[in-house]
Point group: C2
């Protein structure tokens, strides 16, 4: 749910802070966008301590910006569900509780099963063929076992299915959901215990789309996601544990 028409890529690198030479225009017209990318990264990669208040001044300084664009970015992230805002007290990164994570996955399941059912009814043969081709090619690239690539391919596959529903709103909703669970998925894939089933199920999804078998497709997808939920919950528990261990360790040092 972005409502933005930016060209900015998700993983755009933060460009050099302008402290040194001050060449180039003083306003880059995308400070807010850079701030957004940077902070989002901090959140998605779990680099912020949960429950800790985010200090705007500090954050702005570390990004070499003023508070205005930082605040704008924080606001956006809050309305996308990454941060929680309380008036007069600022922004906090609330780490997803296990239960919240499960809920987000459940929402994902609802949106995806709904959209695949539509896709079975409405998608053009060409569209489905394109998905099949995409998945064929993706299979090759899965073999390299690069977690980032796999994550990207996996998300892209699911988004493409949603897109076959012909409903852009559904696609947007799914993308927004994906962003929120990405950090867990990333770890999940890194650990790498679950590839085989994932892969075959994707193939099955393509098959049932070709057959336009909505019942089978939704059933596979529901299982597919609920399997992932359980795994993701474990992963998150582990990540939170590590975080708290690291946290208490650093506390005891000081």
């Amino acid at each position: 749910m972005r409502g933005r028409e930016e060209a900015g890529r998700d993983d755009a690198e933060i460009r050099g802070c302008r402290g040194e030479a001050a060449r180039g225009p003083r306003r880059s017209a995308d400070s807010a966008s850079r701030a957004y990318q940077a902070i989002r990264r901090l959140v998605v990669e779990f680099r912020l301590k949960p429950e800790e208040r985010i200090n705007e001044v500090q954050l702005a300084q570390s990004l070499g910006l003023s508070r205005t664009p930082v605040r704008e970015a924080l606001n956006r992230l809050a309305s996308e569900g990454f941060l929680v805002f309380t008036p007069n007290r600022g922004f906090v990164f609330k780490a997803l509780e296990i239960e919240d994570l499960v809920r987000v996955f459940e929402l994902r399941s609802i949106v995806e099963t709904g959209s695949i059912a539509l896709a079975c009814k409405r998608a053009s043969d060409a569209g489905i063929a394109e998905l099949a081709a995409f998945w064929d090619e993706a299979l090759e690239r899965y073999r390299r076992e690069d977690p980032d690539e796999i994550l990207e391919l996996d998300e892209a596959f699911h988004v493409r299915i949603a897109a076959l529903s012909g409903n852009a709103e559904v696609v947007k909703a799914l993308q927004s959901i994906n962003a929120r669970i990405r950090f867990v998925r990333r770890i999940q894939i890194e650990r790498g215990a679950w590839h085989p089933r994932l892969v075959t199920e994707h193939t099955e999804l393509v098959e049932s789309l070709i057959a336009r078998d909505a019942v089978r497709a939704t059933e596979i997808l529901r299982r597919h996601i609920s399997m992932t939920i359980e795994d993701a919950a474990l992963v998150l528990k582990e990540a939170l544990f590590k975080l708290y261990v690291a946290d208490s360790a650093s506390v005891s040092q000081s």
Copy 2:
């Protein structure tokens, strides 16, 4: 998808511009929030011309605020899908095309059917009883035929069902969707041609929840919403037409 913990009510009135007496604190700590409510109102009630750029300075002046909180509000509205933002060109209120409206309704259908299915499985008997009680009471209030009240009750009813799924994320998603189609629903209810079926279907939904009949519940809900879609599309077409007529009339006058 708010990520906000504000107390602000939706229809909070804009308080007097502080030009005159300047008593009370110069910062109310909720300028942004007031701006948000005010602008949202303009959008939801269709008081902004579609496609026309929103002038921040002008808007800020008319609200008696500076640009900063206005901008913050605009940003929020953009990420909620009400406005479209383009860098260096600002915010635009894009009226939903008929097709977009249909898509949002479709998303709503997906989310609601998904959540009612969950509710059938998981809701507590007490929760369902409460919904039934709510609907009983609501029926009384429907008789007064106050459009605003009916809209509120209708939304509340559907949100309550979603809440019975026990999934707060689903509820948030639904609320965000509701906000985006509220303006059409408002007109729809004002015209008042559709009440009877709506009411009986709500009763049927309660019944099938009590019977925990997920299949029936989802089927009723799907029909319920798709019926509304068609009606809403007509309403929007009419509203857009009026808008353009009014527009060209005022143009020809000047």
